[in-house]
Symmetry: C2
Subunit: 376 residues, 2 copies
């Protein structure tokens, strides 16, 4: 049985789901000859680690307890004294994680799993790389920081996986990595990478006003609490940056041309969410309606996509032919069209749910299993 | 620089293309820190190996020469005396390959790459497994032999890759393996896995008679020399078997329900290709036309697919909703719809060219690179 030790950073929706997956996959993973040893779990406030990080683990009872505590909205520090573990405050947390990394990195490839949404983890991750740790990310922030940070994180390219940073568990990164290693040059990627914006664009295509569609999306729970976090395109542009960097483009987030679906004067610093939803949004209806109509006159549809091609990397509304995987998209699926030498006339298409804690955590888990051959 | 030693078995269209890819990817692979050392190449008649299999390789000049000799239709034995290599006849070939396997298997994970279409390679492959070799297959035959053979080949499950046995280079196996290792149970796979039959079914949907469509497909080079090799569904059923076995179904080829598009009395043993094309085929037009019409009355379309669900594994024409990736399929793309816990309402869809030497060889190459972490 091969043991993969890991520390989970971030224990919100995705992180908790990952712990549940790990526990429920015990017998499956045993059949695959693998045991995942969870050495520690941290959130933004605390860290809980096995009492003997070198040998022991947070057992399944403790992991279940971690999930329960988190779903109650309590702090991990509540676990102090429960089972064989120790808890640390946020200020001690970093030192403790790095201590374990230096103990286990080079010898075992200790996996630092980042399921947080924080830009604070990149420091620990970079030091972890130097200590021989493997890195698995669902968190986009570390990969969309500076190029210097990015290069550091991917410097041991076989030691990092980050499938769930784009399209949740969809096999996007793994498929692109296969294309790269087979020397099939990627000419163009066009992707609808936001379930929310995919839904919005296919609904306005059906003639509904943007304002109404966004409000329905919000009430269906498809959007962030402030829908402008989706409509700004920032989340999509982070995903575009991760894809572009994977293709070898040395660019920063600031180099990406991003089309926001609302104007600056309706931004969060100038207008409350309520004012935006009840007053601002409706002013955007006519423009979108007209663009939809014009596209339709050309036999086309509008999609909010990222386009990566040559030196071009942009995010925004594009007019696309109806007769394509992207053009036919309905609902909240993510769709990627990848054009290469081998997929030149018809693209390689990967499509499916691109959000949700379950599939995001499943992607992280597949990544962890995927690096099992690096260490004995 | 990590060296991956390999022996290529089968040097027809796919094998030759693989050698060309290996040569043209030298600088790319060097950047990835990997060097592919081709120790030997065999076809059905001969074997050519580096003069010192333990240390040396067939260099790029020799590999290019191998491709030239093969494209001329000549024998590999012609290479005797060219560069630092030795050639062996078919009768010596197996012993020689196994000699190298025993020399390099356990210590280096020597990769046995099967790009043949032969059922004769399974013996060498099985012995290679015992000697610690890795296995990469484009050849479906070894995996669709008996369950006993299959179990032997996959007994070291991290030591085998066979992406290009289904959907050519499409990331099918790698994606399914990710789902499996993340514990996301696969409830149902429906796939159009024959470019030829995909083309045929979408053309008859447009009202063309089957006989005419098959003849056009043949003249376009989409079919095997005898189109019945496609229409029988045998090739699709081998792919279905590989998928089903990957999902853990312990079944034999004979357990798959296969719908042939021609009746037994028009089979190759009873009718020549010419008689089939000029007399037999036209008799099948009415039946297909009626089925297409009936499906259309239900708002559906017909597709020739494999369906794997529970204990069910069958291959044939299915009536499917137009409003799905499979229903919208036009032309010769392969499409897979995979339904799991995470992809339950909308499936995970993988679509693209599922045939061609270039993409098949690219899939093989990605597989070879994918096992680089198993050996130092």
């Amino acid at each position: 049985m091969k043991t993969i030790p890991l520390i989970l950073m971030g224990c919100g929706g995705v992180g908790s789901q990952l712990l549940q997956h790990i526990v429920s996959c015990r017998s499956l993973h045993a059949k695959l000859g693998v045991h995942l040893r969870v050495v520690g779990v941290s959130d933004s406030k605390s860290l809980v680690v096995a009492s003997d990080a070198k040998q022991k683990e947070l057992d399944d009872n403790l992991l279940t307890e971690v999930c329960r505590v988190k779903s109650d909205g309590s702090s991990l520090s509540k676990l102090n004294g429960v089972g064989e573990c120790q808890t640390f405050s946020n200020s001690e947390s970093r030192t403790e994680v790095l201590g374990i990394a230096s103990l286990l990195g080079k010898s075992t490839g200790l996996v630092l799993v980042d399921c947080s949404a924080s830009s604070e983890t990149v420091g620990v991750l970079k030091q972890g790389v130097d200590m021989g740790c493997c890195i698995v990310l669902a968190n986009k922030k570390p990969l969309t920081s500076t190029l210097e940070d990015y290069d550091k994180l991917v410097s041991h390219r076989r030691f990092i996986r980050h499938e769930s940073t784009v399209g949740a568990g969809l096999p996007v990164m793994s498929s692109i990595n296969r294309l790269i290693s087979s020397g099939d040059p990627i000419h163009r990627i066009v992707g609808s990478l936001s379930g929310t914006l995919g839904y919005v664009m296919s609904e306005v295509e059906d003639g509904k006003p943007l304002s109404q569609v966004v409000k329905s999306a919000k009430s269906l729970g498809y959007t962030e609490p402030d829908p402008r976090d989706d409509l700004s395109g920032m989340d999509v542009s982070r995903k575009a940056l991760i894809l572009a960097r994977l293709l070898g483009r040395c660019i920063e987030l600031s180099s990406i041309r991003i089309e926001s679906l609302y104007p600056e004067e309706m931004g969060p610093s100038k207008m409350s969410v309520e004012d935006f939803l009840n007053g601002g949004l409706v002013k955007l209806d006519n423009n979108i309606e007209e663009r939809v109509r014009n596209a339709s006159l050309n036999g086309n549809v509008l999609r909010y996509v990222c386009v990566i091609e040559g030196t071009r990397c942009e995010v925004g509304i594009q007019e696309l032919t109806k007769n394509s995987a992207l053009g036919r998209l309905k609902g909240s699926d993510n769709v990627l069209e990848i054009y290469t030498r081998c997929y030149s006339e018809q693209p390689l298409v990967i499509q499916g749910a691109g959000a949700g804690n379950d599939t995001t955590a499943a992607g992280v888990l597949a990544d962890i299993l995927d690096i099992q051959d690096l260490f004995p």
